[in-house]
Symmetry: C2
Subunit: 714 residues, 2 copies
């Protein structure tokens, strides 16, 4: 067993203590941190201070209180250093005195119907008076009135469908259902087609899939009064692009900030949406546009009663507030200047029992266990950094500003960033997106962690994962490579080139074809929900804690990093094959030659094989040889960072993987190529010249990756 290297008997024991620590001691503690009751909590945690008891919106006093609480817990756990890192950033809030309104009006006149302005409290869980009003952060204030058009999920293909029917969206309000793509891209798509506003709603087909009347608080299904909040903005503080929002920052004037979304948008529940959709005129929608409401879905434009219009009034405002991260450090014994980072955010839309506090509690449990290990005299070889981020929900702001502040040292020193946003949204199987470099360490860690279902014949997490979520013919569990921008790994991966992972326990996506758990970003995401319908025993949170902790410890303590560099060229050559299948004839017809790209890929494959072969004979007792090998593995991901960034998107600098330009949740491999092809095929501005230039950049980068694995490399 060389999965966790064992330098000495002493170390072995502590590795076992760590792995089993979560089993033997962990459960009580993790429940304690998570609990709002007074019977099951850690004695260090006051019963009236717990993660999910209040709303935790970024920039509010509630979240400041949580930050202090977490920092104190981490200090109590004996980390070497715990710091709160504040950034003053531009936040977007709903106006509580002039509330947002979504209405049906008699043209230019009084409202016929007004959607609810709040999410109705349905139980006593959390401080129900404290529910954040529904809104989309960074949706600009504005009023729109006009005929309504139903645009399905608001994807480019949905708008193209309407376009092909000659339905003009200009100056109309569109209503789009949540799902499939990032909500901000729905609004941007509507904007591209000149809509004046966007109403977003959660269709029961997506959030109450079975159509049960037994919704929350009796199940995890969304009731008609529930809705999804969420940002429609981009990543990082708008006032300080590229640089940290420290007190000395130069901040852009408000008329100089760059907000892509220019039209108002607002979320409503499906109980309200029914009133808008049921009265639409026009053609009946195609089958795959039909939702779960008991109506005939029509496209519009406009209501049956032509004197009625949809009206959207958004009064969101921008304000500079402080968001805070908590950063905890255990200093490495041998290589303090190499970091393994674990990250999660702590801000929530409302109570955040799944998103993110299931992850936050898990992270705190890991600090406890590793604190204990440290107190017992055992330190990892490399430095472990615990991060809990503020302002994630409103644009990954806490993590982005912190990565910007420490960009230079992270670029030189970070071995891996391990993100868990929510730990558990359901208990069917593990989902993980990762850099190809982290695939093997993840598998090896999962082989150590027990299967949370002790009644199963599969003994390890790896086995049950492979059973439930197998890769396509690989014989290994499914890992998706390309990390979108949906959580805090984005800035680490896209700008600092730190090998990153994002993982969580999820539902069976073959059973329910939805992005997230139904109550996502609603006020009903409560402790009651979590303990009633998600993970009552906290057994899956425990499993995530084990996996996350074991993986971090492994990467921080193994002599030679367990990165298998051969995964990277394999991924690339697979992606090239896919591109050829998809675009081969079109490229041939347009003189796009990818011969050099294929050669570079072959060179990279060979260089990785040679590196791997040499690695097998590296003398693990030779610290310089070990460091030289590890440096090259760590830096391989950096090679994919191009300072010039992707076309028109300088903030995205990873040449191989980036969020899709047309859906930030989606991940593109070869983003410069794939996005450009998308634009070419949709008759947008891009050109074959840009495509050829992007093939060149990809070729150059992959060849550089090959060079970087060579002992000399020149």
């Amino acid at each position: 067993m060389d999965l966790v290297p064992r330098k000495s008997r002493k170390r072995t024991i502590f590795v076992v203590v760590f792995v089993t620590g979560l089993v033997c001691i962990g459960i009580g503690f993790i429940i304690g941190w998570f609990s709002r009751g007074s019977t099951i909590h850690n004695s260090d945690t006051k019963a009236d201070r717990n993660y999910t008891s209040k709303q935790r919106l970024a920039g509010t006093d509630n979240v400041k209180e949580l930050v202090q609480h977490i920092a104190q817990q981490w200090r109590d756990h004996g980390l070497d250093k715990v710091e709160i890192t504040p950034y003053d950033i531009l936040m977007s809030y709903p106006n509580t005195t002039k509330q947002n309104r979504v209405e049906i009006v008699v043209s230019g006149g009084s409202p016929v119907f007004t959607a609810a302005l709040v999410e109705k409290p349905l139980d006593a869980d959390g401080n129900q008076s404290d529910i954040i009003p529904p809104y989309n952060s960074f949706a600009p204030a504005g009023v729109a009135e006009g005929d309504l058009v139903y645009v399905n999920y608001g994807r480019i293909e949905d708008f193209m469908y309407l376009n092909n029917l000659s339905i003009d969206i200009t100056n109309k309000i569109v209503i789009a259902r949540y799902g499939k793509i990032f909500r901000g891209d729905k609004v941007l798509n509507a904007q591209r087609f000149n809509a004046s506003g966007v109403i977003l709603y959660s269709d029961p087909a997506d959030v109450n899939t079975n159509g049960t009347s037994d919704t929350y608080p009796n199940s995890w299904w969304m009731p008609e009064t529930g809705l999804q909040r969420g940002t429609v903005g981009g990543d990082g503080d708008l006032l300080t692009p590229f640089y940290p929002a420290r007190e000395y920052a130069y901040r852009l004037a408000m008329d100089k900030i760059s907000i892509a979304v220019k039209i108002p948008s607002q979320p409503i529940g499906y109980g309200d949406a029914l009133h808008f959709l049921s009265d639409l005129s026009g053609d009946v929608v195609p089958n795959d546009w039909k939702g779960g409401l008991n109506i005939t879905y029509k496209i519009g434009p406009g209501f049956v009663n032509k004197t009625r219009k949809a009206k959207l009034t958004v009064n969101n405002y921008l304000k500079v507030v402080t968001v805070e991260n908590v950063i905890g450090i255990i200093t490495g014994e041998v290589e303090p200047d190499r970091y393994v980072l674990l990250g999660n955010h702590h801000d929530a839309w409302v109570f955040g029992a799944i998103d993110p506090l299931s992850g936050t509690a898990t992270l705190t449990e890991i600090t406890r266990v590793m604190g204990k290990m440290k107190q017992s005299g055992i330190r990892p070889k490399r430095t472990i950094v615990f991060c809990t981020w503020g302002g994630e929900e409103v644009g990954l702001i806490g993590s982005t500003e912190w990565v910007e502040e420490y960009m230079k040292v992270l670029y030189e020193r970070a071995v891996a960033y391990l993100n868990v946003d929510w730990a558990v949204e359901s208990i069917n199987n593990l989902a993980a997106g990762a850099s190809p470099l982290l695939q093997d360490p993840l598998y090896q860690a999962a082989k150590i962690v027990p299967n949370p279902d002790s009644s199963s014949p599969y003994k390890t997490l790896y086995d049950i994962w492979n059973q439930k979520n197998p890769g396509d013919g690989t014989g290994e569990p499914s890992v998706y490579y390309s990390l979108g921008s949906g959580s805090d790994m984005a800035t680490f991966y896209q700008r600092a080139g730190v090998p990153s992972i994002d993982m969580y326990y999820t539902f069976d996506h073959k059973q329910w074809n939805i992005l997230y758990y139904p109550l996502y970003h609603s006020a009903y995401e409560t402790f009651h929900m979590f303990t009633s319908f998600i993970d009552p025993s906290f057994n899956y949170m425990l499993t995530m804690g084990r996996l996350w902790g074991v993986l971090a410890w492994k990467l921080a303590d193994e002599t030679l990093l367990s990165y298998d560099v051969r995964r990277y060229p394999k991924a690339i050559s697979d992606f090239i094959a896919t591109l050829k299948t998809q675009f081969g004839p079109l490229w041939q017809a347009n003189n796009v030659n990818i011969g050099a790209l294929e050669s570079a890929s072959a060179n990279f494959t060979l260089a990785a094989k040679n590196f791997y072969d040499r690695l097998q004979s590296v003398d693990k007792k030779n610290p310089l040889a070990v460091r030289m090998a590890n440096d090259k593995m760590m830096q391989l991901e950096r090679v994919f960072i191009d300072p010039e960034g992707l076309p028109g998107r300088p903030i995205y600098k990873h040449v191989m993987f980036a969020p899709s330009k047309f859906d930030s949740y989606k991940d593109n491999s070869f983003p410069g190529i794939v996005d450009t092809m998308f634009e070419i095929q949709n008759n947008n501005a891009s050109s074959w010249d840009l495509l050829k230039q992007q093939v060149y950049v990809a070729t150059y980068t992959i060849q550089s990756a090959a060079n970087s694995l060579d002992p000399i490399g020149l």
Copy 2:
């Protein structure tokens, strides 16, 4: 003596052999490589194949022949690997059938006077039939005709002087003398003031300072028939910005390339310039505009005879050609993945006896000595890379494309880049520009190298350097910190953040207030000139070879790098003090607060002191501790690289030092701040907002430098 660490007696001996090698064996060899005669040459070097015997313009067969010759010599010297790296790049040539013309014409009619189209051969040195016609590379083809205006050196302040006299340059041809600033910036300045063309000439005040009639071939002074060629373009291949011009490159269409200079320009000799200047009308020039011609210098506009106009016809053309570098490697014994690079270019405007071949021959001598050391069984700890670049004269093209190709590994691995363009232009004293990090290694190397003047009471190069060229009250020889873009260190320093140096032996700049030796870039820069008037004994070339070689060997072989990190914050705090003196009241009046900048600088000073103190107790027998310390010293320079680049100049990424935006030869510290202040003070587009933003970026970067020296850094 710990200047060159001595691990063992064996190593000590070889260090001595290396240092003395150049003394005992070197002279004959170095003369041999340099000589075109048959009596004094290395037996490996055929008498008919030598560096200066033919013109060596980039892209010509002559330079290809030289490249093959150098590569063969380096192979013969036993380097581990010698490669020729070709790049297909866009080159600019003079049209030999439709020659460029600089004329005085009767308005719209026939020429009254035509400047010489060639530099007249004055001796039998070199193949005189092979002289490249005078031109400015990348001056666009075009015809301009109009009144002539004399603009002195063509600096911004010269144009502002004319502006203040209400002399409008629009659509006029200007005549500017060479000197003070980069010629390309003279043309750009003229263009900013709407001139239609630029005639450049070398005034005798600058190239025949003493006004002697005994010019070349009887002295190093420029004759009236001589002139300075040179590029007016920027850096790197225009067809492939940011990426290497490899065979698979996507090349910009010709109408998409970015050439800043849009108006024609052409150099002439002062014999010809006399005809233009002597007939100018208008006011007499101020005293500091007066040159050395025996005329009354007037400004114009226009000639005394108003029917006469100046006419400029430029027929230069662009062509894709191959430039080649020679890259030679001696693999390091302990850390092959750390590089010390020595670089020089081999392309010349004509025969290039000083620029660059005095450097090229010196570099080849170093390959010989280090090849001998290697054959004797001694290798440096780190890898040594010898580079001789093609296409330097036309925009640092060979080095830029190579650095672009290997950017990723250079960024991770390069310890230092040591540039010598020409080795010796005169024998008065040493001149060196360097990163603050390289100042101490350079001093230490200079203390090993003997004073080339053995009759002097100063025994070492360091001593005589300190005597001839002392720093201002420092007690140490003068080293300027900020490296402009005049030679091949630019891309290493400005984009890859590799600590760099540029050095040469020069004349007494207090005696002659000129940029370069008088025959710079003329056809008279011959072997005859070098051996008659510059360094007949080759003793100063030998000294440069010793200095360069000793410095390289030291950096490649010392256990702990001799970088004194305290130099960097010292330089920065000195520059901040200068800025405060210069701009303090103005900044106060405009609410520019540099308190945070000063704090960051103080933090950096403290971090550097602490690092330095810790360094003294690093166990040199602990290879990991040594590598960790060295990594931080090497990477300190990288911290100053900002992927976003300077405002409007993404190619310049070093926040602390860059070529001035208004004179590429000049070096700015805090370039983002200084250039913006220049623009503010000259009422150009820049704003106080940009200035504040640049203060912020500088503050952030300096604080990052402080963090980077911390063992943890978070």
